[in-house]
Assembly symmetry: C2
Homo-oligomer: 601 residues x 2
């Protein structure tokens, strides 16, 4: 069924996370089972998706998460989102469950549900090739789950264009639960925008200038992995399941090491940055360049956090995750959890199918990736994620499960960046790298950009006082707005340029204020949804490990102060308009944002 | 003593009301007597005062109010503010009390305290002429109190350039309490701005376009009185002490009637709108054109609200208020109160020095203005304002005292414009016409400008639902920001132009968001100050009259619904982050705005 949206709806909820949280609140019944037919899988673009400015080639996919049991989504680059928009759509809501494996074929306004029996069980590359062949066109964009999604691994992802992962919250498992293997899209329609010349001039400005902006310049040369060594030098590189922040083998798997395997770069729709590395090796494994290459989170998850300094294994593991459709962060952190359990005698070789699962066991990691994706042996347990696995294992394993709200923690060290730690705790989908402003903001952008938010005081990475919490809250408003706009935040546009992009695209006389309030609206919708689905305020917490000292390296002895952290959390609650007792948004905040209806859902 | 301010202070508190509330919180001890030496009188400009763009010719003067006992200030146009800024100052803080009458002479960086014995008791025009003569320069700008301020009438104002009144909260009485008759200024310094060409182009844009913007076009032709007849036609013109909203004699004192006495127009520094009428008549009274002419509030206060349809009396009364230094709103509403008390037998001829003080008694009104300014007879009682007078009178007089927090209600009818009524109740200085967005916003600006605030839904004048409260709160943020910027809101600049003016003047990379947060910071500082000075949440209320039906006219039967009004007030509290029990700003809101220090004052 194709539904029209009106402008007032679009302006209030923008797209992306705004749309997803809206539809989850409105259409998915309270208490729905994430992997049951009541859950809905929502592909959403944003108002600027597919317009010809860099950063517009993204889309979100969300659902109630089978990993966290609360709000879940992922956002992804590439070409699928723009193609889908060019087919004439803003969002796709998948309901119920197909009786047998199917895929969806969207050819502009022609939509077909097609049999996917022959695709089932296939790696993503083979699946995409088969679809291209069947539909007779290699330019068709395919978003798909892999075998891990079919098996409903709780951290299965959705892959488009093979190398782009809509990674987190197990959205791929939801897609698998619906027997939907892929959504293939071809779009040939022009997007009407309010001010095409305005957009052109912004795009030109970006192409002319992005190499002068620190972060995109680094992205262009080394991808998101660009700061790996720098982070390790600071002593903040999560290593051996976050026991330390200094990885002695870092140089071997650094960004410079990775580029020795570089075969090219690719990017996303309309973007000159081309931050995605394409790597390939022939031995000891063949790593297929079709799958792209590792980003920072993948790099750390499949090396330092498992104590592995083997470049070839890192590249192979990254390829396997894309071929199986596994979220690399959860995969790496879950394996690291198993490794620590093994080292501490909580798991034995009897549990691990004979793998001596010490940190640094590269072959063991590769083997576990296969097992997890296929849900075989120990893999079937780990496919549930660290939190559920720890609960099954017992024997104190929970202490080593690095998760917030059952989602594995991304590769930023909260003891180094307590603001990021607080961000993990208050984010709607548990520990996520995409919910909060990134630590680089603290370091580089204070004087210029953040003054747009009226933040004023420079804050250091280590700080967790009022000024940092304000920066975090205002920054989250902006970040969530970008998650609704579905505009790549890594492009690092100045704030006013983003206002200009929205104006030129939509014709709305918008401002930073409205955009910030959009972000805040989204924060509150997601938070309310989580509380509605039974999340308690007590779950706003970090693993105990972060309140104990880092074991070695430049940050040796660093730990979070529990009193400071709890105080900062309360300040965040206050700033966000969350009741300190229940943790829920106050009705006044909902009313201010025009979303008091959510309290009736 | 001359103190320097740093940029971070200026950016956080801007100027105007931001500065005044800062210094009151920081420097005036809790519980200070408004007319005692502990109180401080603060003249404040804003960051854009005196720069060559229309609307920049204003200044604020504030203190703890002797009328309300809480936060008080007034804002005024003309030339004094720009002159003061050109003398090199942002603010002037007057402390303590002079032993005998003095005036201040600021000649660029030369500041002298001069004897004012010979000025005492003189009307404002004579005083200004004497100062000009003494200092040998008729271009010197003079801000002064009149005889009413000397006598500490609780609604005495400060007058500059004779026709411009810094009217409300009895700030003139504070000046009188310090024995300070005037501040004369001559400034010859150039203001350095970040982008002079940017400012020029905004000024040019305004000069070229202001006649195409509805409100400035009307201002240019009829001053702020332009909508008088229109308001009466709606039935919302406060008449006979707010008993009704339809004044049968309105045509005789309308904007069109006033312009029959027009001798010219004048404006403020750098402004082409020239919204100040200059009127003059010779009989039956001589009205001196030096005093300008009535604005809307004055017009209604000295005609309909007293039931007087005599143009000549209106013009004379307006002149007298400027000559004595009386706030016209409080003057008219206080006299109307006395008239109603007289009609209802609460006051008799024995109380009124024999004046038959019925509504419509034009000569009686003129007589009372003299008596109030001189604190003679009944005038001495009325010089205390309606609330204190009613308390002294007893006999149920309080029912007819139209005030909020002891400040007389401006000439907008809350039963017609409930949003304005709510605004009176939550404003920091009691009923004030300058604290909230003006009702014309509801009617004309929804689709265009307000969408900058993400308000979206059109709201009608009569509405008081969530959308109206949001509009009111967001509108108050913007309005308070303008009170800190000290930029004339009547110029009706589009939102983005104001951002541009601030950027071009200061060089700050500011945004609508920062400006809105500045306004919110100011709201919270003033609110906190009021609570600190003992104001209770119970004082957030309107006179009972507004919960009873309007007696006649198109709005006959209109009344405020108490349940709806209380509900809206609670929504406002919630949106503002005010505790519903105490009415005080929550610490989280203060922390968000970086002003948690005020809780320690």
């Amino acid at each position: 069924m194709i539904e029209e949206t009106d402008e007032s709806f679009c302006r209030r909820y923008f797209g992306g996370r705004g749309f997803i949280s809206y539809f989850l609140l409105k259409e998915v019944p309270r208490g729905a089972e994430p992997l049951g037919p009541e859950n809905k899988l929502i592909f959403a673009t944003g108002p600027v998706t597919g317009v010809p400015v860099p950063g517009s080639g993204r889309n979100s996919v969300g659902a109630k998460s089978p990993l966290t049991n609360i709000y879940g989504d992922g956002e992804v680059g590439g070409y699928w989102g723009a193609e889908f928009k060019h087919a004439g759509y803003d969002a796709l809501i998948v309901e119920g469950k197909a009786e047998k494996p199917v895929y969806l074929w969207i050819d502009d306004d022609k939509v077909q549900i097609k049999d996917a029996g022959h695709l089932w069980g296939k790696p993503t590359k083979e699946c995409q090739e088969l679809i291209h062949e069947e539909l007779g066109n290699n330019n068709i964009r395919v978003a798909q789950i892999g075998p891990a999604g079919e098996k409903m691994v709780r951290f299965a992802c959705i892959i488009n264009d093979l190398g782009y992962a809509c990674g987190r919250c197990g959205i791929g498992a939801v897609m698998g639960s619906k027997n939907l293997r892929a959504v293939a899209v071809r779009g040939r329609q022009k997007i009407r925008v309010a001010d095409p010349e305005g957009l052109s001039s912004i795009a030109k400005w970006y192409r002319d200038n992005f190499k002068n902006i620190g972060w995109p310049r680094m992205l262009h040369s080394h991808g998101t992995a660009a700061r790996f060594i720098d982070i390790n030098r600071h002593g903040g590189l999560p290593t051996r399941n976050f026991q330390t922040g200094l990885f002695e083998g870092a140089e071997k798997v650094s960004q410079d090491a990775i580029v020795t395997a570089l075969k090219g770069r690719r990017g996303c729709y309309a973007c000159p940055v081309k931050c995605k590395l394409i790597v390939s090796i022939d031995k000891p494994y063949r790593v297929d360049p079709a799958y792209g290459g590792p980003e920072y989170e993948t790099e750390a998850a499949l090396s330092s956090v498992c104590g592995i300094d083997n470049l070839e294994v890192l590249l192979k593991a990254s390829e396997l995750c894309n071929a199986y459709g596994l979220d690399t962060i959860s995969t790496g952190v879950t394996i690291a959890f198993a490794m620590e359990c093994f080292e501490r005698g909580i798991l034995s070789e009897g549990d691990t199918d004979g793998i001596r699962l010490n940190f640094g066991n590269a072959e063991g990691m590769l083997r576990l990736i296969h097992l997890i994706a296929r849900r075989e042996g120990l893999g079937n347990l780990l496919a549930e994620g660290t939190a559920r696995a720890a609960e099954s294992i017992g024997k104190g394993a929970e202490e080593f499960a690095m998760h917030v709200k059952k989602q594995e923690i991304p590769l930023s060290e909260p003891r180094w960046k307590p603001g990021t730690g607080l961000g993990y705790v208050v984010a709607p989908q548990g520990a996520d790298h995409n919910d909060n402003i990134h630590d680089i903001w603290y370091e580089t952008a204070i004087v210029n950009e953040l003054n747009n938010f009226g933040v004023f005081e420079p804050v250091s990475v280590n700080d967790l006082g009022v000024n940092k919490v304000r920066l975090l809250y205002y920054g989250s408003m902006w970040k969530q707005m970008q998650n609704c706009l579905v505009l790549c935040w890594m492009t690092s546009y100045p704030v006013q340029k983003i206002v200009d992009i929205v104006r030129a695209t939509t014709g709305w006389p918008t401002s930073v204020f409205e955009l910030m309030k959009m972000g805040e609206r989204c924060i509150q919708m997601c938070r309310y949804y989580d509380i509605r689905e039974g999340m308690s305020k007590g779950e706003d917490k970090l693993p105990e490990r972060f309140f104990t000292p880092i074991e070695s390296g430049p940050l040796k002895g660093y730990k979070l102060d529990r009193i400071v952290f709890e105080k900062a959390k309360n300040i965040y609650y206050d700033m966000a308009g969350w009741d300190r007792t229940t943790g829920a948004p106050t009705i006044g905040k909902l009313q201010e944002l025009g979303i008091e209806w959510i309290a009736d859902t």
